[in-house]
Symmetry: C2
Subunit: 236 residues, 2 copies
DNA sequence: GGCGCATCGATTGTATACAATAAAGCCGTC
DNA sequence: GACGGCTTTATTGTATACAATCGATGCGCC
């Protein structure tokens, strides 16, 4: 299966800023683009067949989501969360997600469960197919779906944002070889939610997040190719 | 004291998108601009003495913060959070803020306390001076400062976002005549933090938020001048 | 030969011109 | 007189041209 055309949109109309932002986000979240990569406006404009106006708008959107970093007069790069930010993101997740998971366990309908199950099947398929990027992205979406099931749009958006940022963090700091693409934790989560056991679901989610956090190596410098310029900026 | 020039910036250089966004945000948060108000690009461009390019960028920023709503080909208006969104925002605040308040109580330095105290003095002054808009904005900032003291940038940003949205919610749904500008709760908060009593601080914050939520009238239609168009859109 | 400075090229920031869309006003018809 | 469709106008969406800024290259000087 050779990869198809570069731009996977409707394509009868030219791409909007939202289209470009979404496509870039998908690329970042599946680790096809790595932290630090320069995102030149002219390049993107040519790739997507739009003007720089659209590209700039898309980049601004991604900057607000903290997936890219824009430095004035210096252009945009894929964001590189600091170890501190990494820690904070996971602390925030541990504050929010166990709570919504408990709510989700109380509210989940059979339809919701089917959705989650389908999601896990997709994850499995991606892993089996060797598409680790897709597996990773789906794995993040699983968490967002749980927040959606809790029927809390506002919190679900926060979770999405944190999950997205976690993807960058994992790209930078993940140290275990295996186990990221294991779906065991998600299985346990699904079981607890299906059983309607709120407290258990909460506990499983909390441990899952702790385990994820634990898989990171947040000691900053040493060997890792952190640029000098980055290392010397304030706030680490 | 007559109000000065319309644009309160550096003014030696022309305003940037960030300047415009910040000024508009300040106007919204102090209730000088009300939900539903149309923000025409040409108008703003003339007011701030910049091109529509800058204005559009600023509006996009505010849209990401959910302070304005942009509908394609229809322009931007100050956002009107639905009753549901209002409920969700306060639920999220009750999940997050008590937690950071407890952390803040544990960590607060004498410098932090001085900052909070100054903040409260400013609030008092604004109330005394009859500037309810400024008092309201400061009152929101008080919550953000607490999150900052907890030394959690990521969560502090979430709190800021929620507090900002709360300002719109209050503009739409506040029902009590008095008491919004009372600073009693903030006083109690400051005391608990100064005492380093984390659990108490958490409890005080939780009650404060519950009280705020309780001051809202979230029954949607009836008398209130919600436009028909708005009332008939999905998701209420 | 190394350091500092000026010029050049590339890239981003801003403004403006043009195209597209949606709303409002107008007219004719029923 | 009210409804439906058309035209007009105001407003937003997009592209492009121009200005400003940054980094790099190369030169001269120490």
């Amino acid at each position: 299966m050779t990869s198809p055309a570069p731009v996977p949109f409707p394509s009868d109309r030219s791409a909007t800023a939202a289209d470009v932002a979404q496509d870039l986000a998908a690329a970042i979240l599946s680790h096809r683009l790595s932290p630090g990569l320069k995102l030149g406006e002219d390049d993107l404009a040519e790739i997507y067949g739009v003007s720089r106006t659209i590209v700039r708008s898309a980049l601004q959107t991604l900057a607000h989501q903290r997936l890219v970093e824009i430095r004035r007069n210096r252009g945009a790069v894929i964001a590189s969360p600091s170890p501190r930010e990494a820690r904070e993101v996971f602390e925030a997740r541990r504050l929010i997600e166990p709570h919504v998971t408990e709510a989700a366990a109380r509210r989940a309908t059979s339809q919701d469960l089917a959705l989650l199950q389908q999601h896990m099947a997709d994850e499995h398929a991606a892993v089996a197919g060797g598409d680790r990027g897709r597996a990773l992205a789906l794995s993040g979406l699983f968490h967002v779906e749980i927040a959606r099931i809790a029927d809390q749009i506002t919190i679900a958006e926060m979770v999405r944002s944190l999950v997205d940022r976690s993807s960058l963090i994992i790209a930078l700091y993940w140290r275990r070889q295996s186990s990221l693409c294991e779906t065991g934790a998600h299985h346990a989560l699904l079981d607890a939610i299906a059983a309607g056991d709120g407290p258990l679901a909460r506990e499983v989610m909390d441990r899952h997040l702790a385990d994820l956090h634990d898989g990171l190596d947040l000691t900053p410098p040493e060997g890792r190719d952190v640029s000098l310029r980055e290392a010397l900026r304030p706030e680490g």
